[in-house]
Symmetry: C3
């Protein structure tokens, strides 16, 4: 299989006269794919029922004629202004009860049935018109579901939908009352019609209430997407994708991804570092022009799982962006590095966002491959270099990693619902495990919580999976590799109760969490022999061997050759020790990598990446700043 | 009198089958009291008018049969969901105008007449049913008035009530206009019906407007409580209490407490340290597992005053809680220390919250005496130890303290209304005086602003009492002990105007505040010979002897043997000097205590408490971490 | 011309019996002016249509009889309570959609036609009554337009007005769609009636949308003021003024000022330092009692431009204020220094706010010349000293400065709309240029963006003028002095698009901004030979000589003798170098001043001001803390 490049293009933004030249330059640059259409509804349907497809027909023709393959996006992330008059209550509502108005994008509530029908209608028309078009080689539904915090809406549509969803889930209201423990503060309902949304409560709402509302909200995204997929699949045999956004965890990507053939994601390493990685200032400073060395890789591995092997980077940052608190330029070479890193993790394609920097509207300070005056921007040369390298070099050969790491969206919501201490998040916990594995030179597969076949994994991590579903519990219990659980794994039942017997209640490992505490950041609890617990610590009652302990001798990591339980959030040193210890038990080889250097192993070779702005010596040779090398195994 | 222990229990949360065993274990642990009922309205009245008392009858029977005494709580803090349909406008409204919705607790506006009637109705039924029950040995009205910022509501009910209250207070609108100085910005009203609530104004509202709204809001809490008290008292001779929450100052506890026989409060030392003490990070770190060494004692002394001698801790933290930014476990021994400290300050009873940790709903991470699986939690052993010690040791003999400290809720509102500088609060000012007194080993009585008999006090502090009522002014003026006023004492008249002649206008002490300033935290004004003014400083025109002055020679503390005025907010060193100086003048002996050690003197003995996590040498012997000792005088 | 002093007085706040004595004391203190009336609407018209002018007649008589000249203010900043009942929708609406309620001041939306008519009506009556009064020697419209963030309102009145304004500006909706680039996210409108206000959008609105809304909002202030001016001018020949507030940039003061004869502003050096200067903590600490050494001077120079030479300080801080986060007292001597500094910059009059400290309402902790008990406050002696000095000393002779600095309100809105990086603001950029010029001892004229005659200026700065109007571009291009552009100068066209050819597209200077980035504060980019770029950096494609460059050799400042372009936000050292370099090229002499010392040159002399609290040696002699000296040229 040949890895390919592409770009995101908006023919509707530019005079038709330049389309052909644009297309020619894309092809000349070595690009294969061009994504179009996803924000063009007002151009397609300027007035309700009046459809203008002709320009899109011509755009696809021009692009196809230049040898490019089109990814066609449904335009449902940007319903036109007239839609609001037609469905005034389709707007999402924020937690304060304010409607989130027209004037940018994603101005719809996933629960709104009227808008769902409109999305259905435009998708059907688009699919029927272009389903057999020879240049349309892939589809994209909507754009970045959940971006701008758009999964959760406190609208009346959401309230009504939530009541039906609860009725469906619980059958009768007493079952819900019991599952949620509503007796606690006289919160019992007499019917589903009494359930309101969990915003604006006097103090925190019942976490079970909040967690179910998060689950409902995620299901609404899945439902919305499914409608589009059905229409496209009926008309076209081209694969269907969606472009997920980094660290958007408010809906279950695995559930949504099941309905798609390809997972894609939008990779903005510098914007993310400022906005979403959650690193301290020193780290943000050190990697301001390179991005976090692990954040992209984590998402690559995540979306490989979401796409069941088939995944792309649909939007790759090519220069400064416009939306982060600070928007620096990338270090020369980083665009190439980011692109190759995606391929090393198995991406089928990497598309640069966007072709030409727009001189107008919200993203006018978002770089493209071209400057606003159509001259090449600095990223163009790096993209062309990758295109050449792709043509010349052997293809990347995927391989299963030795280590699996469970990622569970439901757990992320559970930690958000009940973090217990400021700053504690499930994503953060899993990502810190991932970083420790990467620092040890280990390639990782991320797996969903419904994964049941762990064959071939020597080591499996399942930290923080608050509710451990029976199937996963049993699959892990029977895994051949070593399984490391905790902290908080199995801490809640499906209804957000603490189970009795107390967690984690593992088969074959005697360990009970009898009490837990969250800790100020300035009071780490030292581990014997190095590292520390930070932020969160459990008291364990256990007869199992102690693998890590506090300086006072309290158990932190306990276990045997088959499984272990870690009752703490460890700092980087602590996690490095945990990884080293378990990797040795599981016979997974580890490396000591220089700061900012990362490696990824495929079936046939090792990729090495220097994420620093300094030259670095590595076992694979000396790498310049932003340097890359491929070394056959 | 025998001091006793108790716990808070929710029979409605647990299967009826385990009540008996629970009751037996409570009694075996040495507990006397069990508080029940205060969140059980939906269990009592699941549907309007359909009353289910049977379960409560049986619960009281079971508990009573085990030898326990019941404190029965009215369930009005948690009106059921159907109440909202009956009275849709009963919800409180926040400062932004949003209703504070059902879904947790305290979802009512104190001004709402419909809900007041509902509260009246359920209380009457409960009082009539259990007023003569032999096991019901005390009552509690509602739960934690004011918790979750629920005193102030910007509802229509509050607006209407406020207008009536103003009409009642001022008689005619011109009197109000003059009292408030409404001419200032053309804010004059033509009738009381034109007065709105002081939220959402373009810039700050008139402080007189805000202050009266705070007074009104406090009065509504008192009115609400009074209705319940009247019904209970009519049916029962058992004492009536309310459980106040730490550092809730939005209503006047003295006024409310007058209608009750016992004041109780809910003591969460670790939660408070993170959330309400206002300490710096180093102090929060040092006492993260012990709580502030003075915060609980301050409230003990405050509620002894509110209860006119009769007071309890109704909820004592037994382990980590769930609601603070960080929720660590207490140092071993602290539960015992906290309990004994309450007794040393005169508590009649200390009840642990709660019996068994709930595995569901909002407080599932709030520890109890039992774990969710019914095993003993760590606090149980400490509670049992106290029970044993109580049985063996002599009773605590109360005594009047040598020093009185005035605490005035109206002053707290005045400082909140007009802090003059960021971070300046009346509670903070009084508490820092209290801490300085405690650091000097002095036992303190807190007294209300309507206190008139200061007999026996050698030293009296009245800092920050913005409006000094005539009776208090005259009582202090006639006191035999030395009285220390200021800063800001007497700075406003009852209508929030600066009086002329200028403050403080003390009889027999020539001092006038001619100007005042608030100061950045990084610009302390040094005192001659040590210590500094921080945050707030007055310019004093005075012929009185100078007791403390700035390095530049400006008077800070002036006075004579009878009285003194301090025109500044002093730092800890400055307050220590002030205390030492005035204590010497008033012949109050002082001590130099090691960091974190505190002492409390009763009629017959001295209690010593080590609040640190280190062993400390004290005049009463060496104390281990969390250690306690009693030394006869 | 004789410079004069005055004060702000509220006869309606005080018993009529003391007016005469007050007037006498004002005159005795050497004051010439007394401003009255601007908050007195409820006293004038307590009930709709019932006018009480008598008290105001008498007040003007009393003041005039004492020899004082009256500045009469229209009372429209404080419409009475009954006005809200008459026009319930006249309140401004905040960005969250909440009405900004009655209860303080400025509670009106500039777009509301009903309130505009009321303002018209009361102004007409006042003008007709007092237009020929011999004591009314000047007028003031309203009070501090824009204070308390009152320019922008998201009301329905604003929405309706904005639509009309857009229709007027763009003619047809397609022109607007194209100008704004609404095709970008399908944001196209079909008619002006579809345009909503740019608040509460899901993510940021189109910057062109926001920028036009800011322009509209500014125009509404101008329109509101114009109505009052027309009525006053029709009835009176006395000059008309408005008192602007420091760092209020939400409306175009130049446009509004065109309709007035005198610009005045309200100078609160200590309040501003805490609240608006944007300095770091060390600077705020160092100047806490003196105010920033340049902030007042900047506004003096700004309002000299706004008033086309005629300007006053209408409200001069005389002691601690009440509204900043911290409110310290001024260093002795500063009130005199501030007054003389205003005169040195050309003020015709300086009026102290206020005569007597009010013991009631919102500003009771705002000092006056008198204390609440009518004794002299400390500022009185300093005011009297200035009065004496004015009588004795030669008048200040204005002169054109050697350096001009463009200030453009439209550019300030553009940077606010699109800062690109956290903390970057146009006001900040211009002010930092101004400070650097002042540190070099250079006197500066601020000029508006429609200035076309730069005759006499040796050096002209136009940093950050995002949209460079054609007339200004051409005037600067033809200027005889050296012109320094950038950063971001000319970066957008009138419709907020990036122009092609790319900015700055200067005649005769080959420089193109090909890419730009915002930078974390902790990643300064060092300049070769000292100083650094902070926060913002452009990549320049240029063949022009390099005047400043980064350590890596990238051009930062490029240009020749006639003009230069700076593609970066420089730190203080960098700006000092830039000023020194260009001043030398332009033959403008510079000085090296001690920290906190500033100088201002007039036609005949040099004023020297010591803003520090230490004695300092200067070329003009040794100055005590807060010292001033005048040195003939």
């Amino acid at each position: 299989m040949k890895r390919t490049l592409g770009t995101c293009y908006y023919p509707e933004h530019w005079p038709e006269e330049i389309w052909q030249e644009d297309a020619r330059r894309m092809a000349d640059a070595g690009l294969t794919w061009v994504r179009i259409g996803e924000f063009s509804w007002s151009k397609i349907e300027p007035t309700p029922g009046v459809l203008h497809w002709d320009w899109l027909d011509r755009a696809i023709d021009v692009l196809g004629a230049a040898g490019l393959k089109v990814v066609l996006g449904t335009p449902t992330a940007t319903p036109p202004r007239w839609m609001i008059d037609k469905h005034p209550d389709m707007l999402a509502v924020d937690a304060d009860g304010n409607p989130r108005k027209f004037g940018s994008r994603r101005h719809y509530c996933f629960s709104h049935l009227g808008y769902r029908d409109e999305s259905h209608r435009i998708t059907r028309m688009m699919a029927q018109r272009y389903g057999q078009n020879p240049h349309v080689a892939a589809w994209q539904t909507d754009n970045e579901y959940g971006c701008h915090d758009t999964v959760i809406s406190y609208s009346n549509a959401a309230r009504d939908g939530f009541r039906l969803w609860l009725a469906d889930r619980y059958g009768d209201i007493d079952t819900l009352n019991t599952a949620w423990g509503n007796i606690f503060w006289s919160m019992e309902y007499r019917s589903f019609d009494e359930v309101d949304l969990p915003n604006l409560t006097v103090t925190e709402p019942n976490p079970a209430h909040m967690q179910d509302f998060r689950r409902y909200s995620s299901d609404m995204v899945v439902r919305f997407n499914k409608v589009q997929v059905a229409e496209i699949a009926a008309a076209s045999s081209a694969p269907i994708s969606h472009n997920y956004m980094g660290r958007v965890t408010e809906f279950d990507h695995f559930k949504l991804g099941k309905d798609l053939q390809i997972a894609t994601w939008d990779s903005y390493p510098l914007g993310f570092l400022e906005d979403r990685v959650g690193a301290d200032a020193a780290h943000q400073r050190a990697y301001a022009r390179q991005g976090d060395p692990d954040f992209q890789a984590f998402h690559h591995d995540l979306y490989r799982a979401v796409g069941r092997g088939r995944w792309w980077v649909m939007e790759q940052q090519p220069g400064p962006v416009n939306w982060a608190p600070y928007n620096p330029s990338p270090l020369p070479g980083m665009v190439r590095l980011w692109t190759w890193e995606a391929f090393a993790h198995g991406a089928e394609a990497v598309c640069y966002f966007r072709w030409r920097q727009a001189p107008f509207a919200q993203e006018q300070l978002h770089a493209g491959l071209l400057r606003p005056d159509s001259e090449d921007a600095p990223a163009m040369a790096e993209a062309q270099q990758v295109a050449t390298e792709l043509a010349d070099a052997p293809d990347v050969q995927p391989a299963q990693a030795p280590v699996a790491l469970v990622f569970d969206y439901d757990a992320d919501w559970a930690w958000t619902t009940q973090p217990h201490g400021v700053g504690l998040s499930y994503f953060g916990l899993v990502f810190e495990h991932y970083k420790a594995l990467r620092r040890a030179g280990i390639s990782v597969d991320i797996v969903p919580p419904n994964h049941t076949d762990f064959t071939g994994y020597q080591l499996i991590f399942a930290p923080g999976v608050m509710h451990l579903p029976d199937a996963l519990r049993s699959a892990l219990s029977g895994a051949e590799g070593h399984v490391c659980y905790g902290p908080r794994t199995g801490a809640r039942d499906a209804g957000f109760k603490i189970p009795v017997p107390l967690p984690p209640a593992l088969d074959g490992l005697d360990v009970t969490v009898t009490r837990l505490e969250s800790l100020r950041p300035d009071m780490p609890v030292a581990l014997k022999d190095g590292g520390a617990v930070t932020g969160y610590l459990e008291e364990l009652e256990t007869t199992a061997p102690m693998l890590l302990e506090t300086q006072d001798g309290a158990p932190v990591l306990v276990g045997d050759a088959a499984q272990s339980y870690c009752g703490a959030w460890l700092d980087a040193t602590g996690l490095d020790r945990l990884v080293a210890l378990l990797a040795e038990m599981a016979s997974v080889p580890i490396l000591t990598l220089p700061e900012g250097v990362r490696t990824r192993r495929t079936a046939t070779e090792e990729f090495w990446f220097n994420h620093t702005d300094q030259q670095v010596d590595t076992p694979a040779g000396t790498l310049p700043p932003a340097g890359i090398t491929r070394r056959p195994l």
